[in-house]
Symmetry: C2
Subunit: 243 residues, 2 copies
DNA sequence: TTTTGTGAAGACATTCACAGCG
DNA sequence: CGCTGTGAATGTCTTCACAAAA
C-alpha cells in the first residue's frame, strides 16, 4: 500500500541538477514536491477511470486529451493539467496509452488492493448495497454487516454474510482488518454509529443518512444524500420554468 | 409553480426610487435583477435546509449566521452571502427566523409542490429507492415504476405500485404528468433509458448508472455514483498512509 | 506535424472587514 | 450593543496559448 504514491511528483525540476541540490539545501525544494492537488481534480479522477474503461471496451488503445475531453465533456487542458499533477503519462504528438493510464489511476486512487468495508444497517438501503455487485469491480467489498436488530432483513441464505449485533462491531472490525464503514441507518442513529465506527478504528466513512455527522480529522467522511441531489435537480427545473 | 421565484432578487437598488425607474428605461436594471448565482451556493442550500430542520427539532426559533455556520462547518460570511443572493431574510442584530428561512428555502429550491418521479429499473437498487420513505418528506414521490422484465422484483402486494413494461413509458409519463426520471438500470442500458425518458418528455434525470449519459440541454441530469464516492474515499485513505 | 505539459490570464468562489440597521 | 448584507481582498480552479518533445 505504501508504494501507491511512488509515482507522484516524480519530476525533478529541470533547473537544478541532482548534484547541486545535494550540496546546497534549498528552502523551496521540499515545497515543490508537495504541490497541493485540488479537491476538484481528485473528484474527476473517477470519471477518467470510467471513460477509460469505456474506451477499453471499444478497443481504443491510445487517446488524446481532446478525445477524452469529448467523452466526459470537459476542457482538454483540464484533463492534461489534472493528470500532470501526478506525473507525465502522455506522449507528445500521440496522446495517452489507455491501458497504462488506467493502471496509473488505480495506483493514484489507492485501489490496487481490495478495501474491506463494514455495512451498518440492513434495512432497505443496506440490503441494496449488500447486493450491489459493482463494488467488487471497483476494488471494494462488504465484509461484515451489522444491525441493531440482527434478526431482520432477508432470511439468511447459506453463503450470505451473517447480520451481526452492534455489540460485536469493534472486535469484528479489528479481527477482519476493516477500514471503511458504510452508514445506512436512520438519521437519528447516524451520529452514534459514526462514533462507534471511529472507536472501532475505521479510517473512512460513507454516510447515507441525511444529517451532518462529525468525526476526528483523521477519519475521512463522505456524505451521499439523495434528498439533496433531488433538491438540486428541483432547483434547476423550477428555474427553467421562469424562462 | 411559476410563482416559485417571485421572491428572488426582490431588492430595489436603493439609489433609484421606484418613480424614477418607472419614467426612465435604464439599461443596467434588468441585468441587476439577473445576478448570476454560483453553482456552489445552490449545492449548499440543501445543507441549510437540513440544519434548519435540525434546529427546529431542537426548538430553536432564531439563529445567527454564526450559529448556522457552526452546524454545517462553514464560514458565517459564506452563509450570509449565499442567502443574500435570494433576498434579505435576516434581521440585523438578531439573526434569521428559522421557520421563515426554511419556508423561503423551500420556495427557492422549488419544492413547494410534490414532484412526481418515474423509477426505471426494479432490481436491488430500484427496490431500495422505492421503499425509501424519505423522498416524500423532501417533496418527491415515485409515481410509476418500469422494468424490462415487469414480472421480477418483490411480489406485488396490494397497495404497491405495479411494475410496468417499458413499452408503456411514454404514455404513462404523459398521462401522470411525471417530470423526473430515476435511472436504476445496468450501465449498458442507461443511455437507452435516458433517451426514452427524454423522448417521453421528462425534464430532469437522476442517474445511478456509473456511466456518462447525454441528453439535450433542456433536460437536467444529475449523476449519483457510489463507486466514484468510494474511490474518492480511497484516495484520501491512501494519502494518509503516506504521512 | 501533432499533442503534451505548463506558465500566465481569466473566471469563479471564499473570506475579510466594516458600514448600516435594528 | 450585535448581527446582517456587501464591496474589496484574497484564494482557488479553469482555460488559454505556446514552447518543448516525439
Amino acid at each position: 500500500m505504501a508504494d501507491a504514491f511512488e509515482t507522484f511528483n516524480r519530476k525533478t525540476p529541470r533547473c537544478l541538477s541532482t548534484k547541486f541540490s545535494d550540496r546546497i539545501q534549498i528552502r523551496e525544494l521540499p515545497e515543490l514536491s508537495k504541490k497541493k492537488i485540488p479537491e476538484a481534480t481528485i473528484r474527476r479522477l473517477s470519471t477518467y477511470q470510467q471513460i477509460l474503461n469505456q474506451a477499453t471496451d471499444e478497443g481504443i488503445q491510445i487517446a488524446s486529451s481532446a478525445e477524452l475531453a469529448k467523452r466526459c465533456r470537459l476542457n482538454p487542458a483540464q484533463i492534461r493539467k489534472d493528470l500532470a499533477y501526478f506525473g507525465e503519462f502522455g506522449v507528445r504528438g500521440k496522446g495517452y496509452d489507455v491501458k497504462n493510464l488506467q493502471e496509473n489511476l488505480k495506483i493514484i486512487l489507492g485501489i490496487t488492493t481490495i478495501w474491506k468495508m463494514a455495512l451498518i444497517g440492513a434495512g432497505n438501503l443496506g440490503s441494496a448495497l449488500l447486493a450491489h455487485k459493482e463494488f467488487l469491480s471497483h476494488g471494494f467489498i462488504i465484509d461484515a454487516v451489522f444491525d441493531k436488530y440482527p434478526g431482520r432483513g432477508r432470511p439468511q441464505k447459506p453463503g450470505t454474510l451473517p447480520i451481526r449485533p452492534m455489540k460485536t462491531l469493534k472486535p469484528t472490525i479489528h479481527q477482519r482488518s476493516i477500514e471503511i464503514g458504510i452508514v445506512a441507518v436512520p438519521s437519528e442513529a447516524a451520529q452514534g454509529v459514526v462514533a462507534q465506527l471511529v472507536e472501532a478504528g475505521v479510517r473512512g466513512i460513507l454516510n447515507f443518512a441525511p444529517t451532518q455527522v462529525t468525526a476526528p480529522s483523521n477519519v475521512t467522511i463522505k456524505n451521499v444524500d439523495l434528498g439533496s441531489e433531488l433538491e438540486h435537480l428541483s432547483y434547476h427545473l423550477s428555474k427553467l420554468d421562469e424562462e
